[in-house]
């Protein structure tokens, strides 16, 4: 295949730099804000009338002598529950992923393998669930959770969380399972294995790469979108996930922006690192499934 010419190469790297700047700018800014003491953070140079911020002032947001990691030790005092919030976030996302997979796996298998009455109608109905975001159903969900005494527990965030991730999960996993050759199952049937045994011992092991991708996608969805249910269905600090816990900062009299940013970065770090290292497998898995409609 043809090689890139030099101008072409420059264009590619320049575009990538631009793209990454957009993607990473908020993180850079959050990190910089976390390093600056509040007095520096809320400092605007005294300017003459008509004068604007100069280059030196601008640069001082990226580097100046008063930078410190003070905020990173202060957060544990200001927000004593921070470790708990971090744990809650991961715990909630994990629980949602497990419960979702339990519902998704058999359903995806049925849609991938069998032709049966009501197949396309029920699949369409599942996908239609995507149209209802949690925000639309808040009132009745609130009633439902109150009825079962689940408000202000982990369940208040797990139960609705699962519902809105199952449809996408079924749709993703179905396309993976369709790729598994049917002959393998036939061979298993011929040997006298039952259908459930075949699903457990033949299909599931082969579907592992797909399961990983679907599991990751569900986990990210659950981890990224736990805010709404958390602020509506849970008032108990002990069960708050990270974003809801940090959102409380904004309610304080004076927002401690530097600590808020430090807490945010510390809070997301564990999950962020894990997934950035998994990037390769994730893309390979998605390619393998070659998601189609």
């Amino acid at each position: 295949m043809d090689k890139y010419s030099l101008p072409h190469k420059i264009l590619i790297y320049f575009s990538i730099a631009l793209f990454l700047t957009f993607m990473l700018l908020p993180f850079v800014e959050m990190f910089m804000a976390s390093l600056r003491p509040l007095t520096h953070l809320f400092h605007r140079p005294t300017l003459e009338l008509g004068e604007t911020i100069g280059f030196a002032d601008f640069i001082s947001r990226f580097w100046s002598k008063d930078f410190s990691f003070q905020a990173y030790s202060d957060i544990w005092v200001t927000v004593p529950q921070l470790p708990r919030y971090i744990f809650n976030s991961v715990f909630l996302a994990t629980a949602v992923t497990i419960f979702s997979l339990i519902l998704v796996i058999p359903a995806a298998y049925a849609y991938a393998r069998f032709n049966f009455r009501g197949k396309s109608v029920s699949l369409t109905l599942f996908l239609a669930v995507n149209m209802f975001s949690g925000a639309v159903l808040l009132i009745p969900l609130y009633k439902l959770l109150r009825m079962y005494g689940m408000l202000n527990t982990y369940w208040a965030m797990i139960i609705p969380g699962v519902a809105f991730l199952v449809p996408t999960g079924i749709w993703l996993l179905k396309s993976f399972m369709e790729k598994i050759p049917y002959e393998l199952e036939e061979a298993s049937f011929v040997d006298g294995a039952s259908r459930l045994y075949t699903l457990r011992r033949v299909i599931l092991p082969l579907a592992v790469p797909g399961l990983v991708v679907v599991g990751v996608a569900i986990f990210i969805g659950a981890y990224a979108q736990q805010f709404l249910f958390a602020i509506t269905f849970n008032q108990d600090r002990d069960y708050m996930p990270l974003p809801a816990g940090i959102f409380e900062f904004i309610g304080y009299q004076d927002v401690l922006w530097n600590e808020m940013m430090a807490a945010s970065l510390v809070g997301i770090l564990p999950v962020l690192l894990i997934f950035m290292f998994m990037q390769k497998h994730l893309i390979a898995g998605l390619t393998h499934g070659a998601v189609k409609q």
């Binding site: 793209f19 993607m23 700018l25 908020p26 339990i102 149209m131 609705p160 974003p243 950035m276 998601v291």
Partner: protein, 307 residues
């Protein structure tokens, strides 16, 4: 007891047995609340009626919502928000995926660096943007002041237009990585020999992109566009954290309006009405999208690709 007579019946029974856990869950957690929302939408339920009970008031909520002066503007704004944001996500996703698929150094690292906005909790990303948009101390305001575009602090979230477009930028920032990765995965699934054959025949890079890559990844693009449209339409957290629908309603989309009415003003009945309208509008939109798609694919011969 029903006894399956044919093989087809056994299969149907088994398939439904496998689907039933998920289906029952959906009936309980999504369908029942939906029916309940529909019922509530015909009542005057609000904080004041909690004790003495509410009354059914027929179509009054619908008349009030649809007849309201603000409603058409909110619907228009929601669609504008959706088309603009989804369009940008698709374009950026395509460009990003093409860049990440090209043969470059440190590809793995660069790909990993694109992921964070998708992985982190949406709310946390919004906190970062909240600070970026800050008028006096935010990076963006200071930057445009330094280069001389403005002559003083500019609060991005304080003015109607800039608040709206700032929210769009944040929404695009959060949505782009996932679109990029799905497109990248689809691009990698395109058989290599197609490109090699075209290259041997002297097809240019742009030609290969247009005639091989695009048609091959079209199914993914179409699916992602629809999913992304629905998610963006329902996007709540981003707008809520950045502006709470303000200033003066400039970022109030249907979903924000629904939340405000139902949860903030405690008008459960009127809120439910808006929720029903959201679902109706989205259903009609999806049906139109799929119908148009069917036509287009027939005309341009995507029929074989769009399964």
């Amino acid at each position: 007891m029903f006894k399956p007579k044919t093989k087809a019946q056994t299969t149907t029974l088994f398939a439904w047995a496998l689907i039933s856990p998920a289906a029952i869950y959906m009936l309980l957690i999504v369908v029942w609340p939906l029916v309940e929302t529909f019922r509530l939408s015909f009542t005057n339920s609000n904080i004041g009626t909690l004790i003495e009970g509410y009354d059914y008031i027929g179509w009054a909520n619908y008349e009030k919502a649809l007849g309201g002066r603000k409603f058409p503007a909110i619907v228009n704004r929601t669609f504008y928000w959706m088309f603009l944001s989804v369009g940008l996500k698709m374009i950026l996703g395509l460009i990003g995926a093409t860049l990440l698929a090209s043969n470059i150094r440190a590809r793995g690292v660069i790909r990993a660096l694109v992921m964070p906005p998708w992985i982190i909790p949406i709310a946390i990303g919004c906190f970062g943007w909240l600070w970026l948009y800050n008028g006096h101390f935010g990076l963006l305001s200071n930057f445009i002041e330094m280069v001389g575009i403005t002559d003083g602090p500019f609060s991005f979230l304080a003015y109607k237009k800039s608040a709206f477009y700032s929210a769009v930028v944040t929404d695009v920032w959060i949505g782009t990585p996932m679109v990029t990765l799905f497109f990248l995965a689809a691009m990698q699934g395109v058989p290599r020999d197609l490109y090699e054959a075209a290259y041997v025949d002297g097809a240019s890079r742009w030609y290969r992109f247009r005639r091989i890559t695009m048609p091959q990844i079209m199914p993914t693009v179409i699916t992602m566009a629809l999913l992304s449209a629905i998610w963006t339409f329902n996007s709540f957290e981003i707008i809520w954290i950045l502006t709470e629908g303000g200033p003066r309603g400039a970022t109030t989309t249907l979903i924000i309006d629904t939340f405000k009415t139902a949860i903030f003003s405690y008008k459960f009945g009127a809120g439910a009405t808006r929720a029903v309208l959201v679902v109706l509008i989205l259903s009609v939109f999806s049906l139109i999208y799929l119908a148009v798609l069917g036509r287009v694919s027939k005309k341009f011969g995507y029929a074989g690709v769009v399964k």
